[in-house]
Amino acid sequence: MAHHTLDMPITEAQARALRAGDTATLERTLFGIRDATQIHMFDRGRKTRFDLRGHAVIHTAPNVKKVPVSNEFPAGYQSICVGTTTSARMERFTRPLMEQYGVRLIVGKGGLGEASKRAFKDLGGAYLAIIGGTAALESTWITAIEDVDLDDLNPESLWRFGIKGFGPLLVAMDSHGGSLYDTVAATAAERRAKALAAIGVKA
């Protein structure tokens, strides 16, 4: 199990070097994206001015405070609390994010499904699991909100965060068909009958 420090953006080769079970820490840049952002980008034809090629996106909608634009707050937003939401709702957007925008990594919680696994394999990407519900800690890895696009969708805008030591994250799905979620699901399915029998459920 290797640890990778990734200075974003990365190449396809770097994305394909990640293996399920490895850990990774991201540096420099991370984009925040969520349900409404992607519904507008992929179902309603809106485009972002951001160049996402080779980048990582995190499934989030942060708590922010509006402040005057300054060097410290270039987008006019101070970060208060940035955490991660459940990824599964955004399953169908993984492929278009990668195909149309060149995204390489998705940071989220709870895992993605078969369609995302195929997209990672076909296009060269990975899913990095962060620990959901640990936003106070995660917020300490954000250095600034550098820019924001599609901000009429606030808080589900497209955010560009400056980051430092963002991780460690667990590589939970890779570009070789590996998925820790598949392993856990197989275990649970295998143990189900015994668990039910132990509490008196007749088959």
Partner: protein
Amino acid sequence: MTLRIDLDVIEELAKLLYIRALKILPEDIKRGFDRLYAAESDGTARSILATMRENIAVAEKTDNLLCQDTGIPIYNVTIGDGVEVRGYALKEAIERGCARATREHPLRSSIVHPITRKNEHTSCGVRVPVINIDFSTEPDELRIEMIPKGSGSENGSFLKMCIPAEGVDGIKTFVVDRVIEAGGKVCPPTIVGVGVGGTSDLCMHLAKIAATRPLGSICADPEGANLERELGQAVNSLGIGPQGLGGDGTAFAVHVEIAATHITMNPVAVNIQCHSARRAVATIRPTGIEIGT
């Protein structure tokens, strides 16, 4: 004696409780983490639980929110005996406090119109905050419990109108299968709330009461308490683990609440509470106001 309720106090408390609940995890949940960590045999799961405990400490140290999800705000109001309060105005005061917490902290408003998806940035909207009013025999006491219910786990809500012939086996199977289906999406370790009986809506409400009950509390009905113990054992033998990445600690506990039901019915509901099991409580008495969990 009569306790007269000042609505300005209610508004302030509605604001304070929302912010406090988002920042300070109740002691029973912290102890739940200690217990799961001590019992966990999987290395990855132990490190995940350790990070969750670290986050609780960081939130307190930096006076920050535990989780970015400000949830759907729920206020459970229990009005004791001899309490005098203007009911409708009480609800309005809670809404004002909830909106002020959102604007003044500020907090992310997670509440949108269900069809237009428009966010008013107040954490309020049609019928939200959810305000549940109940009554108790406690003299001269008004209690407000605030629960910011996170959406990842709220999306792990399920109802099945089982039939009598499916019996308790049908209930047990449904709960275990929904926990498997929810996997890591509901941010385990969780409290699995189970409602048994009642009507469809009451059954779902019971599941929510169960999911948000303090750890260590036990169903008042002995059959319900049995079911809690059995289902707790079953869900923690599945290997789903913290964050659904494997391990022993899938749930802190399974909580069950029951209601009588119809001869033709056997409803079961599941409502899940994520590990950020946040709540805050204010109790107003003639002697003063107590804030806790």
